[in-house]
């Protein structure tokens, strides 16, 4: 199989064309001087990024309050999700790799479940459960508990339910390759447990923790299925985009997509730089 036929090469070329066609299309029409994201080409413009709305009746992304608010909402969700995913994922990695207790196999298996449960179902189950908790607590405490109702707080919990599986797997994979003789050496040299952890184990885990954090940021920022079920009146970017696309989007949505592509590309390169070279 060292001499690929021409047909084989053409197929592979066509495949990559297919792979990039939709992204290229989105990007190109972000710069088209037209009120609709459609051909024909009417000339290059940055109006859909920085325009005030004087030309096409709708402002560009960077001056569109609702769009900027949705990006803000996404960040309000993604940052806590990433922080919690790394912190709790590290603890979980130690549970998986270091602890021994009855029922550990079950716990280890359950940690994988969120990855094989459709996101929509994670969303509705968390929505229904937290509503019941809120109803019960509100009747008991006699006060409103809005953070248990649909909104950004619940979105954080919903996304965390499966992103934590990923961060746990990433960090546990690195902890598994850790040579425990290094810790023993630190103890022999008189280090306390905490000091050995801080100066030996944690630095070893850092690339995996950074990688898990970046993956969590990306997964959170792009999540749609689970988020849609738990969102209140403050839509994160994918939910906002979905609403726009159902109504017939303007090229402003293309423009925000270009910004997302650049940001995702940046994060992914960062991930490749930090995590890949072992």
């Amino acid at each position: 199989m060292t001499r690929p036929t021409l047909a084989f090469r053409l197929y592979v070329a066509a495949f990559y064309l297919f792979l990039f066609a939709p992204l290229a299309t989105v990007a190109v029409f972000a710069f088209n001087a037209s009120p609709f994201p459609a051909p024909p080409w009417r000339g290059f413009t940055l109006e859909w990024f920085v325009g005030t709305g004087a030309v096409f009746g709708r402002p560009g992304v960077l001056r569109d309050g609702a769009m900027l608010a949705s990006i803000g909402n996404s960040l309000k969700v993604a940052l806590p999700v990433a922080a919690l995913a790394v912190a709790l994922g590290t603890v979980n990695a130690f549970v998986l790799e270091r602890a021994a207790f009855p029922g550990k196999r079950l716990i280890a298996m359950m940690m994988l479940w969120p990855l094989v449960i459709p996101g929509v179902i994670l969303g509705i189950s968390i929505l229904a459960f937290f509503s019941r908790v809120a109803n019960g607590l509100e009747a008991w405490l006699d006060r409103d508990l809005d953070f248990l109702r649909p909104g950004l707080g619940l979105v954080v919990l919903g996304q965390l339910s499966f992103i934590l599986s990923l961060s746990t797997l990433i960090i546990a994979a690195r902890l598994r390759r850790f040579d425990r003789a290094l810790e023993e050496a630190a103890f022999d040299l008189g280090a306390s447990r905490l000091r050995a952890f801080r100066t030996v184990t944690l630095p070893y885990l850092r690339p995996a923790m950074v990688g898990a954090g970046l993956v969590a940021l990306l997964m959170s920022f792009e999540n749609f299925n689970t988020t849609l079920m738990l969102v209140g009146s403050e839509p994160p970017l994918p939910v906002y985009m979905y609403g726009q696309m159902r109504e017939g989007a303007t090229p402003a949505v293309n423009a925000v997509s270009v910004l997302v592509m650049v940001a995702a590309g940046g994060l992914a390169s960062l991930f490749a730089l930090i995590v890949r070279p072992r």
Partner: protein, 288 residues
């Protein structure tokens, strides 16, 4: 860090217990209970299987469910068929930098949100879109051609969305195939096709199963792609769940639908694992 015991162990396991208990087990118990609750009077519920009976009684519901299952199987098969040659090329033909580059190029589109990719297909396929314009320019169509809002568009979008999750496990599986085995196959007089069928495909089986499981699961549970590319004709089962939960506020019915979808998805995952004889953990890691 010796093996933790007592209070230390309890503190270590606490986050996992809270996570799995409060975000996984109890929520699923809640929708299990809801799904067997029937409204007997305003705000009064009793045990009953009415929500599941309703699913079988109303053709729209079970037909949408069957349609979702059938199209998801089709999407999984098409994704496998499209991705396999490319994985073969990346793993067995390309060398050195070209190989890493081709592999990386497969990953890039999936760092971008599903909504962005779907927007691209909408601009390409719709009546006023790029493909329609090109066809008219070439004289192949006399007027605008609507390629959106049909099953073909839905399948196309779903296959596109599944490709990465198929290519990566396939490349990982094919990478470990010893080239001398393939050569031996040729030396023994096997044609390209025989070698592929008798040596390459059996070796790639773990990757094929892992990719198929993940693609099926993601396809069955997809929401945005069938709704946006299929429009009114999308008819995906997740949409029914959304409608019951968010639009109609009929949570017991929505929970029953959710359970049925979970059962379908879990059954396929389980069958795939049985077929390959691999544990879930290894299958999921294949994709990473």
């Amino acid at each position: 860090m010796r093996t933790p015991r007592g209070l230390g162990l309890a503190l270590l396991v606490a986050p996992a217990a809270l996570w799995l208990g409060l975000l996984l087990v109890l929520p699923h118990v809640e929708i299990a209970i809801l799904s067997v609750s029937e409204r007997v009077a305003p705000r009064v519920y009793a045990f009953g299987l009415g929500n599941y009976r309703e699913f079988f009684a109303e053709p729209l519901y079970w037909r949408t469910f069957a349609r979702t299952a059938a199209l998801s199987i089709l999407v999984t098969a098409l994704t496998l068929a499209l991705a396999f040659p490319v994985a073969l090329y990346v793993a067995r033909v390309a060398k050195g930098r070209a190989k890493s580059l081709l592999f990386l190029l497969c990953l890039i589109p999936f760092w971008v949100s599903e909504l962005v990719r779907t927007l691209g297909w909408m601009i390409l396929l719709r009546e006023t879109g790029v493909i329609s314009a090109v066809l008219q320019r070439l004289g192949l169509a006399s007027g605008p051609v609507e390629l959106l809002y049909n099953d073909g568009a839905v399948v196309l979008g779903l296959v596109y969305g599944g490709l990465l999750f198929m290519v990566v496990p396939l490349v990982n599986a094919l990478d470990s195939l010893d080239p001398s085995l393939v050569e031996a196959g040729h030396d023994l007089g096997g044609s390209r096709w025989t070698v592929l069928r008798r040596i390459v495909i059996p070796h790639a089986m773990p990757g094929i199963v892992a990719g198929s499981i993940v693609v099926f699961m993601l396809t069955v549970g997809n929401f945005a792609t069938p709704v946006l590319l299929g429009g009114k004709n999308g008819l995906w089962f997740t949409e029914q769940i959304y409608a019951q939960f968010i639009t109609r506020f009929n949570w017991p019915q929505g929970s029953a639908f959710g359970f049925l979808l979970l059962a379908l998805s879990s059954a396929i995952v389980w069958a795939g694992l049985k077929l390959s004889g691999q544990p879930l953990g290894r299958t999921l890691r294949q994709g990473a």
